[in-house]
Each structure stands twice: as structure tokens, then as C-alpha cells.
Assembly symmetry: none
């Protein structure tokens, strides 16, 4: 169901404020059978106090059993159907390094690779060339010149870099984003030719071929990184904005470029330059009167989970809990605490497990949750719900949705 | 998912009887933090006894966060997707005053308004002219004559009346229902012209223009109500009938025209002329052998909620509870108790909160619900479910659905 088709019709303006506090990868697993999860182990007096008054539940980011990446995880929280609105990998990579994509841009994740004299790939990652060596090479590729295309090349890490094509003059708006990868996922064979999967991307294929040729010339003297492959070729996704679908002036307060970028794709303003959660709280306070909705992103519950460090994830969870009073001081009407997916430290990876979620507001219907944790949330009043419905619930609880039908 | 595409294939006939008892606006909220809802406060020994044996759950009328009107609320309970089958406001208003729409009819909510000498609106509601004055004016508009159109004008209340166009002769079946409102939602400007939003509604626009001209002539001497605006212009919705999608002979036992009308749109027979719940029980008994399905509508749990009267809603809830033994005496195979939405007296309005629901039948799988109330239903075996699935559950429990696939 396209919930945004309803919120688009029904949203109304008022002065209420919504805060969505996202502890990335919040959900977890016990370390041993019968044990507690990271969140259940952590001392979270503020979350627990909220949970007593809030309505709780378990958010399913995409669908049961599906472990989402950061893109679909956040799109779901922002109310966009993460199946319908897939962000291409190139666009996500560009977003993740802070590159601000414009409408019509085509973004590409590139790998440096090693070709032999016959043009066959001997190493798909150019010996995992270190960043100190690969970054200058990526910058050198800015010398590539293609008529009627503005070209951006940005180093990422090791063998990876990002290329963005921006059509100019006759090419403006003419570069489609649907082109197959050129990485054959094998060695001993040459890179694939780029192939368009729709007519609108034929021009992009021409541009990509020209880029590949010039890049090989520029890299011809390199011992390892003497060529490149193109992957995840994709246009900037076209998401309706928060203003359009919810009538919200929305602000994102994040530290990492990836999450700023995702919020920007949804039409949020990126405010402040906070580097710590304390600074994020300061930015929240400074911008309180200017916006209706605040997305606050905290990365370290995910990264500690990815590291497989249970204790560190517990500590990071307690750190997020401690910021709650600073949010409540500002008098939000709706406060949501959730994650974009689970990252159990037992798995050292994103997982499919539902995400403990609480929605605190004046007119929540009480449930029997007394603390904030995975098992407790199972008896919550939100039940198990698809993440994409969180925004309509937030709007309703903020008095920002009119009645549907007479 | 179109559940009716499955029930349509799978329904089978037997002698079992289903009763759906709808306490309008049943769900509520506590008056103060930590308190109980109206339903939880009410003494409902009969509901509680049913809940012990029944399967319980929380019904989501349309989607999380969406507060439905009576139209979508009931369509969901009747198993029609309330997004796909929206009843236009004109059709709902006509239905609400007991006008029996026919296929091809176009129904319009009209407002009397006041125009100045320049034709600009000075009052969009003609000074909220009292019904005693407006009703004779609406009846006067029956003098409008339009070739090949049968015209119906029915007073509603104060400045409101309903007009129905029914095409005859060459216009039969030619009047589309997709025309913009003529109410500009502002004063100091003239009413808008009616504009068709599809080619099939061009003829309706011609008819509407002619109606407006003749109405202004007839009303020209009126000090306040000297013109009218047209809103919610809509065709009779085309719902497949209960007989088609469920194989049910269905009867509606309601007091208010709106709910009789909604049931009629779903192809139910409207039986009896009960004015009280006791009389509704009498009508149920009298018609027991004639039908497979009975929709019983009780209005006052909603109206007391709308009035913000917690105590009165509690009392009305107890009144519905007291009718349960009279239903059970008749030996139903399936008894459902639910509401079309929540109407918490704290909000004095329809709300988005899920609706406590019980389904009592011989082969319910037991859950742990011991009483009937919002918090208790959260641990019920139906979980949180979309209202549109209630009918397939009812049919299954009545032994009226065959197996899907081999």
C-alpha cells in the first residue's frame, strides 16, 4: 500500500514538533541462549521511562527475513516504500562520500583493476591498492574530457572511487541510469562492455565507453591500477520530498555523510556540523523553532555491532539513552526512538530481525511495555509493523493528519 | 492484496450464520495516564465471556496512523479495500440521508451561499440559514428542469442539501462523476465553474451548469440563500455485492440512514425499521432464517465519543454488551464484535488507534485474552490486522471457504 498517497492528501499544518531518534542498527541478539540483547543489557532509564508512556512495537524495515542496507533501512523509516524506491549503488556510494547529486546525474562505483597484456583481468581490485596510492590516481582521472559532460571523480578507499556524469548542453537530462556493470566478477577475462537496459541510457553507454578508453590511457603506466571497472551505475533517485508528502519542514542532524545524503534525497535540510551526539543536541536546540521534524542519526550502535563488540554496543546504546532528557527539554510533541535495522554483535552484520521501536506522544494508547527492549516490544501496541508506516503514525500523533473519507 | 479475489473463488454454501456487531467508534483512550479506556472501564461481562473463548485482535481500519470516516471504516469491515473503493462525498451524503442511489446516478453535496450584486460570494454558507428556512428552498429547486435528466433535490440541514442527477433517454449511463467542486473555499470571489476531470464527465458539467443557472433564477429573491455551490460530485460507487464476493445473503440492521446506505452499497438487504437496540434484536430474530450474514450497527459509542463524554461512552458500551445474550440465543456460528474505527472521548473525534475486535466461533484457536479491551486485545490471536481481512476470517470460521490450491 502506498501510504504516502494518503499522507499527501491528508497532511495539515500545526505547530507540533516530531523528533525521530535513529540509533543505527539498534536491534540485537543475546550473546548466549537465555541471555539478553545489547539493548536489554544496557542501562537505559530514559528509554524505559518513555516506554512506560509510549506505544511500542517491532519495526520490520523491508519485509520479514530481509536484512536491509542503510539505504532501504532509512528510506523505510522516512516512509518511502524501500522496494519501490531503491537507491542505486552508485548513487548511494556518491551520497555516502558527501557528493551532492543533482537531478539527471549518473553515479558510478568504480574499481581500479589490473589487466594483463591481452586485456584480461588479473586482479579485480588492483591488489587492494592502498588509499594513499589510489586517491592520486582517481584525481588524475579528472583529466578525462568528454564533450557535453561534466565529469566528477572522487576517491573513496583502496581500489574504490566514484565517478559522476552530469550531462550539459545537448546532453542535459539525457543520461539515463540503467546500464549493466562492466565488472565480469571473474579474472582471466576482459571487463564487459557497458550495455544499456533501456533506450534512455544509450547515451550514458557512449559516455562510459569514452571514459573507460581515456582512463586506460591515463593509467597505462601503472603497475597495478592500470584500468577500471564500472558498477552500480545509477541515476539520482527521484523521491518526493518531505514537504510534498508530509507537509513537513524537516531537518537532519547527522555526523556521517551517508545519512546526511539519504536525508537530503528525502528533501530534508542538513543542519549543523556536529561531530558528537552532544553537538547534535546543540544543533537540535539551535534549530528547534525552524522545523517541524528532526531526524537525528547516531552511528555507533551499528558500527560496534558490525565490529562484533557486544559490550561496546551496550555502552553506545547507553550513550543514546542519555541524550533523551535534552530532547525532552525542548518539548517535542512526538518522540520516536528506533533503528534502521538490527545489527546484532553476534552476527557482526546487519540482520533481518525487527527493530525495537517506541513512539511517545500525548495520545498514545497505553500498552503493557514497561521497559525498552526487543522482547518487551513484542507486547507493544504497534505490534510488528512495516517501517514505512512510522511516518503516518508520527503525523497522526502530532495532529498533522486529517480524516480519510467522510 | 485483493482478498476478495480469493473469497470470490473459494466461498461455499452452508447453513451457518455470521453476526457482525459493530459498535461504532468502539476503541478509546484513557482519561489520564495509566488509566483505562472506555471499553476497559465498562462492565462488559458478556464481551469478556466471549473474549475468553474467542480469538481477539486489533483491527487497523485503513492503514497505521489513518483516521477513517464512516465510509472507509465500514467498507474495511465489509472486506472492501477502503483505499481502492473510495465513496465520493456526494454519494456518501446522499446515502446518509437515505437516498437510494442507482447505478449511473451522480450525487452532489450542495451548499446554499450568498452572492453580492457582482456575483461574488459574501457567505459560503448563506449565514448558516436554519433548516426550517432552507428545506423549503431546497424543495423549490425541484422545479429545475433539464432535458433527459431526472433530478432529485433533498434538504439536509442548515445550508446543506443534496442533488442527484439521473440520466434518462440519451443521457442514460452517460453522466460521469468526476467533476471539480464549484466552492472556491473563499469569499469575495465568484463560485468556480464546474470542470470535468475526465471525458465521461463532460455531460455532467453541462447538466451542472444548467442546474446552477436555473437555481440562481429560482433563488434570486432570497436575501441570504440566493445561489448554491456544488461539492463532492460523485457517481454511485460500484462495489461487488456480498452475494458475488462471499456468496452470502446479507442483512443490515441499522438505525441511521448512513449505515443502512453503506450496507446497501455492499448489496445487503436493509431489514426492519428498528429505532433501538432492543428493536434491532427483534428484527434479527425475525429475519434469522432468511439470511447467512447480519450486520448490526450501534451508533452511540461513536456519538458519545464525539461528544467527548467518557462516562456516556462507557454506558453505551455496556448497553451493547447487554445485547449479546439475545444474539447467542439464536445460535450464531460466528459472532464478531468490533468497531469501524476508534472514537476516543479524549479526542472527541475519530482516531487512528486500532479497534479492539473479537471473533467468537467454534474453531477459534485460543489465545490468552481473558477480557475484551484495547490492551488485552494486543495479546490476541488475530494480532494487529487490516480490517479488510475480517470477512475472510468470518467466512473461514463459518465453514464457508474452501481450500485454496491443491
Amino acid at each position: 500500500m502506498d501510504i504516502q498517497s494518503l499522507t499527501r492528501q491528508l497532511h495539515i499544518q500545526n505547530d507540533s514538533k516530531i523528533v525521530m531518534l535513529v540509533a543505527d542498527g539498534l536491534g540485537g541478539l543475546p550473546q548466549q541462549p537465555g541471555g539478553l540483547t545489547e539493548l536489554e543489557t544496557a542501562s537505559t532509564p530514559n528509554f524505559d521511562a518513555l516506554a512506560k508512556q509510549a506505544v511500542c512495537g517491532s519495526s520490520i524495515p523491508v519485509a520479514p527475513g530481509i536484512s536491509p542496507g542503510s539505504g532501504p533501512g532509512h528510506l523505510g523509516l522516512f516512509g518511502y516504500d524501500p522496494i519501490e524506491h531503491l537507491i542505486g549503488r552508485g548513487a548511494l556510494e556518491a551520497t555516502g562520500i558527501g557528493f551532492e547529486l543533482q537531478q539527471g546525474d549518473v553515479a558510478i562505483r568504480c574499481n581500479f583493476c589490473t589487466l594483463d597484456a591481452q586485456g584480461n583481468i588479473t586482479d579485480r581490485r588492483a591488489g587492494r591498492i592502498p588509499t594513499e596510492e589510489s586517491a592520486p590516481l582517481a584525481e588524475m582521472l579528472r583529466q578525462v574530457k568528454i564533450p557535453d559532460v561534466e565529469l566528477f571523480v572522487e576517491p573513496v578507499k583502496e581500489h574504490r572511487f566514484v565517478v559522476v556524469f552530469r550531462g550539459t548542453g545537448p546532453n542535459q537530462g539525457k543520461l539515463g541510469g540503467n546500464v549493466h556493470d562492466t565488472d565480469p566478477q571473474a579474472t582471466g577475462v576482459p571487463p564487459l562492455d557497458p550495455v544499456a537496459t533501456d533506450p534512455d541510457s544509450e547515451k550514458t553507454v557512449e559516455v562510459a565507453k569514452e571514459f573507460i578508453v581515456q582512463a586506460r590511457q591515463l593509467l597505462s603506466d601503472q603497475p597495478k591500477a592500470n584500468a577500471c571497472t564500472l558498477r552500480g551505475i545509477s541515476a539520482k533517485p527521484s523521491l518526493p520530498s518531505y514537504q510534498q508528502v508530509y507537509g513537513l519542514r524537516a531537518a537532519a542532524i547527522a555526523v556521517y555523510p551517508m545519512y546526511k545524503g539519504l536525508a537530503q534525497l528525502a528533501g530534508m535540510d542538513i543542519v549543523g556540523q556536529a561531530k558528537t551526539l552532544d553537538e547534535q543536541m546543540e544543533v537540535l536546540r539551535e534549530n528547534w523553532s525552524q522545523y517541524d521534524f528532526f531526524f537525528i542519526h547516531f552511528k555507533y550502535t551499528d558500527s560496534t555491532g558490525e565490529d562484533g563488540n557486544f559490550e561496546a554496543k551496550v555502552k553506545r546504546t547507553e550513550e543514546v539513552d542519555a541524550c533523551v532528557p535534552k530532547i525532552l527539554e525542548l518539548g517535542p510533541d512526538v518522540l520516536i526512538v528506533t533503528g534502521d535495522h538490527s545489527t546484532p554483535s553476534m552476527l557482526s552484520a546487519h540482520s533481518w530481525h525487527p527493530v525495537p521501536t517506541l513512539l511517545w506522544a500525548k495520545h498514545c494508547r497505553p500498552d503493557r511495555c514497561e521497559t525498552f527492549g526487543e522482547a518487551e516490544c513484542l507486547q507493544g501496541g504497534l505490534g510488528q509493523f512495516e517501517a514505512k508506516y512510522l511516518m503516518s503514525l508520527a503525523l497522526a500523533n502530532a495532529g498533522k493528519l486529517g480524516k480519510y473519507g467522510a
